[in-house]
């Protein structure tokens, strides 16, 4: 198959066929990660810049390992603040990097649309590692990969995603990804964390998490940002936990063989208790392992081949 995207901006722009192609490719890359010599020469001589405007350990490390396992030169740049605060525009920052002949820029940025903005202005490939509240495609793909690995398929499954839906780019990418692959997606959280029109993205919205979890094959808990506490969104983490955290009782509402996912980092005792985080149904570390394989596939597709006009 000929993958038509040079830039990986969002799942919304992808077809089910393209998503499956990425997941299938990731299967092949996963094998490399389990070798003694975890390196292939595929991207030898390619330069990949991880341009992170927001703090991130997991995603950045995962992309860095992904690039290195394919022999690309990966360089991390941690920038902070918006372009305005920094005195240099995002375009200038990125063009400086491109001028050093980078082949791909993997970017995380606090502004929704920042990756699309760069993609319109730069020739090198842009891979979205999370832009504001918009999309986080690599996370959704690794989630889908993990679900497929455990359930053998995605079509027909019911996936409940619980937490701060409003501020989550992971949710948006997951809704697109899973619904395109034929799953039923439910999102749940307090009314202050359910954005208007979320159902139009391809999911059902619940304020009662028991109803969302009931009969589901996958329960995905989102990290709650402690900063939101006391802001008008939630009164306290304590109260949030009482109504919106996953308990063993609540997990029993899901299918018996349901898996529990979390994009990390986990707040133990907040989104879910340690007994579930370490319990038999959790696949959280599988998500992390698969993240490297999925990101290898994305970097391979972004850097491989001649320059495309995307």
């Amino acid at each position: 198959m000929n993958f038509p995207h040079k830039n990986i901006i969002g799942i919304k722009e992808m077809t089910a066929e393209e998503i499956n192609f990425i997941l299938d490719s990731a299967e092949s890359f996963k094998e490399i990660n389990r070798r003694d010599i975890k390196k292939v020469p595929t991207l030898r001589g390619k330069t990949i810049i991880n341009l992170f405007f927001e703090a991130s350990t997991r995603t950045r490390t995962s992309f860095e390992i992904a690039g290195k396992r394919m022999s690309a030169d990966t360089i991390n740049i941690s920038a902070s603040g918006s372009s305005v605060a920094k005195g240099e525009t995002l375009e200038d920052t990125a063009k400086n990097i491109e001028a050093m002949n980078a082949d791909a820029i993997v970017m995380r940025h606090s502004a929704s649309g920042a990756c699309e903005y760069l993609a319109k202005r730069l020739d090198c490939a842009i891979v979205n590692a999370g832009d504001g509240m918009h999309e986080h495609p690599s996370q959704a793909l690794l989630d889908a990969f993990t679900i497929r690995e455990h359930k053998g398929k995605i079509e027909g499954l019911t996936v409940a995603i619980i937490g701060d839906i409003t501020h989550s780019r992971v949710v948006r990418s997951n809704i697109y990804c899973l619904s395109k692959l034929g799953a039923k997606v439910r999102v749940a959280g307090p009314g202050t964390m359910l954005p208007p029109g979320i159902d139009k993205l391809g999911c059902e919205a619940y304020t009662n998490i028991d109803e969302a979890i009931k009969g589901s094959d996958v329960v995905m808990m989102l990290r709650i940002q402690r900063e939101r506490q006391g802001a008008p969104l939630i009164p306290s983490v304590r109260e949030y936990c009482k109504f919106f955290s996953l308990t063993e009782e609540r997990l029993k509402l899901a299918k018996e063989d349901a898996i529990v996912m979390h994009p990390g980092p986990i707040n133990r005792g907040v989104e879910l208790p340690t007994s579930i985080a370490d319990g038999p149904q959790n696949v959280i570390l599988d998500q992390v392992e698969n993240g490297v394989a999925v990101r290898m596939a994305l970097l391979y597709l972004a850097c491989g081949g001649e320059k495309l006009q995307d």
Binding site: S83, E91, S112, G113, A114, G132, R172, P196, G197, I198
Partner: protein, 424 residues
Amino acid sequence: MKVLVKSGRVVDPANNIDEKLDILIEDGKIAELAANIDAGDAEIINAAGTIVTPGLIDMHVHLREPGLEYKEDIVSGTAAAAAGGVTSVACMPNTCPPIDNLPLAQFVINKARYEGSANVFPIGAISQGQKGEILTEMGELLEGGCVGFSDDGGPVKNGEMMRRALEYANTFGAPIISHAEDLSLVAGGAMNEGAVATELGLKGIPNAAEDAMASRDIMLAELTGAHLHLAHVSTRGSLELIRQAKSRGVRVTCEVTPHHFSLTEEAVRGYDTNAKMNPPLRTQDDVDAVRAALADGTVDAIATDHAPHHVDDKNVEFAVAANGIVGLETLLPLTLKLVADKVISLPQAISLMSCNPAKILNIDRGTLSIGAIADITLINPNKEWLVEAEALRSKSKNSYFIGQTLRGCAIKTLRAGKVVFSRD
């Protein structure tokens, strides 16, 4: 010095005129309106096939001078006005420093008089420094040529301040122009709240942010008996509040912008910063409401909220981009589209851009009455033209309509009988 504007379709809503007439101008004033005037030695302007209207008035423009001349200045802004068929603009005081004192207001008026291509009527600030704390010297500002007061760019947050502003301005018979926005409800929003904002991951601004403040200001207008003018109304809710208030006899008028009756929030897709405005582009339902309010007379004026921004202020991430678009040069075609769509009649359209705003601001413009200053616009309603950045007279090119072909434009603009703009 005589000028004869010959054989045009003269539309002068203030005098209920819509017929083919000649207009004779003497010494910059309208001397005669009649069919087939023979004026001997007058300079002839052939207006056959065009619509001849009072010079258009745009009561909501940001000229950016003083202080922000890199975005626009009085010369470039009034040139853009003339090119758009606009002979008079009311300019907002959110310059740097703000127009909150007489010398500054007179600087603007004089600069426009000697170097500009259109009349400029400054709107003075409501509060000193637009800080919402101390009233400006409104009496003196009015004497000096200001025509109303506004802290546009932001709302007057404090309710008592707004009340006193209405009462004090009313002392001198001047309107308060409200930028109705509850900032606590805007809460950092970047576009209209709803499914599109959710999809794009942009923080939304609910209609309630506008409706709540519009409601407060209407209540205060009712309380004080003063004249409140609501700027750039964009929601169904606010329009309904205005409609009800008018039926109760409250002295409230309002304006809408061409972008709010032409575009919806869908324009934001792709994170196009030229679709970022305040108030934000709303839903189709709101656009329908704006159009209905234009049709039923709830809306008193069409104003552009011409908001020039340098490319550096727009070529950034959506969330941090400046709000607003330039509008003077696209006012006419977008408004004529309402006529083509049969939302309003041509005379209605012209009154919304001439005699109505003149009345709101209490200025002696916007008609072709005998003895009036001869500000006249000749319009070709059928000419199709491509909006091109380079061709815009405004210093800033932040128009959402660049690259689109629009229909209708001014082909000649006369200010006090002198041609200040002309195109083929």
